[in-house]
């Protein structure tokens, strides 16, 4: 999990206490990634165990310091890039694919509903922008990430819709309207 690398990145700035790290992590992520103190200490314990961090005690408080191995580990994280990833597996994708199995009409309904919800999210974001000003750059970038991801999902939904509509016009040349059902 990226929390581990996040803590290493913060410790590279200098030794720190657990609670300070929690606060710094939350500030750096624009308040969108809250951590509980327990999670911070568990992660720090593992980093100590793996030799990426050392701890010493001063005034009854544990202070953490990054090691050379920790710096190397962090360096590897910065340079790692997404490689050949498996196909995306998210709920929206799954839902649309399964809806198509059930029928194009149902799929179009699912697309419509999701598109409306994502558009509403964009409308709300557009109106909320001034409110996140106090979070500074991190907050603004997090807000932008939500907007651009919603846009990407919308673009994909548009594509699904266009393909479904095209498939419909090319495959259903004559809809069966004579009502000969042999159910």
């Amino acid at each position: 999990m990226a929390v581990r690398e996040g803590l290493l990145a913060l410790l590279k700035e200098g030794p720190s206490h657990g609670y300070q790290l929690k606060t710094a992590f939350e500030a750096a992520t624009g308040g969108t990634w809250p951590l509980n103190v327990g999670q911070v200490y568990t992660t720090l314990d593992r980093l100590v165990r793996d030799g990426f961090v050392t701890s010493d005690e001063a005034d009854g408080q544990k202070r953490y310091t990054i090691t050379a191995a920790g710096r190397e580990e962090l360096g590897g994280w910065w340079t790692a890039v997404p490689g050949d990833e498996p196909p995306p597996r998210d709920e929206l994708l799954l839902k649309v694919l399964l809806a198509i199995e059930e029928g194009p009409g149902h799929a179009l309904d699912v697309i419509t509903r999701h598109r409306t919800a994502l558009t509403r999210l964009l409308q709300e974001r557009r109106r909320a922008t001034p409110a996140v000003d106090h979070d500074g750059l991190a907050g603004a970038l997090v807000a932008e990430a939500r907007v651009t991801r919603a846009e990407a999902d919308l673009r994909w939904l548009d594509l699904c819709e266009a393909r479904l509509l095209r498939a419909r016009t090319t495959t259903t040349i004559r809809p069966t309207t004579n009502g000969d059902h042999h159910g």
Partner: protein, 251 residues
């Protein structure tokens, strides 16, 4: 201007059960089927949908450029089908402003002359038309080189000039069909911000056809179309952002 939003006022645009067909028999295409849409004065409505969904047809009907086969189109409370051709042309000139994706400006006229055009057709004296045109250009951020020709301006500036021409006078309804289609994202953002600010600044209603969700998000209401029908709508409470644009005027 404050009472422009009052629900008692006639809608700036109202479509009632509108049907539009092209062709006949086996080649018949239904562009619009039972489309109803109400746009209040001072409201910005975005219309989205895949190509061929009927959104451009909807704008053409709203602007009186085409007639529906059934149903009613009202602009400012007036049923377009009851108007003579001349009255309808006048309405298009005085009450409705159009902004298209491209070819908005007359290349042989200067920026100012382009914006003056609708006023002159209306019979506004040249001097006054010139002053109002210049004021409109300034309001869209075109403050210099007002006597240069469209080609001397960037794409974004040309679109601003087109917006100025669409709003000059006292338009009740602005119809914008993919006004950012030919622009890059940053320039498109600026043009949309300008168009989205019109309802608050002037009380005009705007119908914005776009395929860009980020632009549609400026609207309080987004209407989704497919196969010539309205299939859904996303409404949010009017935002607080226009206040900065109108506070000056409201005092």
């Amino acid at each position: 201007m404050a009472d422009a939003i009052s629900p008692a006022a006639s809608p700036a645009l109202e479509l009632r059960e509108v049907v539009k067909r092209y062709g006949t028999g086996t080649t018949e295409v239904r562009a619009l089927t039972d489309v109803s849409l109400r746009v209040a004065p001072g409201e910005l409505v975005a219309v989205m949908g895949p190509s061929g969904c009927g959104k451009s047809t909807l704008l053409h009907l709203a602007g009186g450029l085409e007639d529906p086969n059934a149903g009613q189109v009202q602009v400012g409370g007036r049923d377009l089908s009851t108007l003579s051709a001349a009255a309808r042309a006048t309405l298009r000139r005085t009450d409705v402003g159009f902004v298209f994706q491209r070819l908005n400006l007359v290349p042989s006229l200067t920026a100012t002359e382009n914006v003056m055009l609708p006023l002159e057709l209306e019979g506004v004296p040249v001097r006054e038309a010139r002053e109002r045109a210049r004021a409109a250009l300034v309001s869209v951020g075109i403050v210099e080189q007002l006597d240069r020709f469209p080609d001397d301006f960037s794409g974004g500036q040309q679109q601003r000039i087109a917006v100025a021409r669409a709003v000059v006078g006292t338009r009740k309804l602005i119809l914008a069909d993919e006004p950012t289609g030919a622009l890059d994202t940053m320039t498109g953002d600026a043009v949309i911000e300008l168009i989205a600010g019109l309802p608050a600044a002037t009380g005009t209603a705007v119908v914005l056809v776009t395929h860009e969700p980020r632009y549609a998000a400026w609207a309080d209401r987004v209407v989704f179309m497919r196969d010539g029908r309205v299939v859904d709508e996303s409404s949010v409470a009017p935002p607080s952002f226009p206040s900065r644009a109108v506070t000056g005027a409201a005092r």
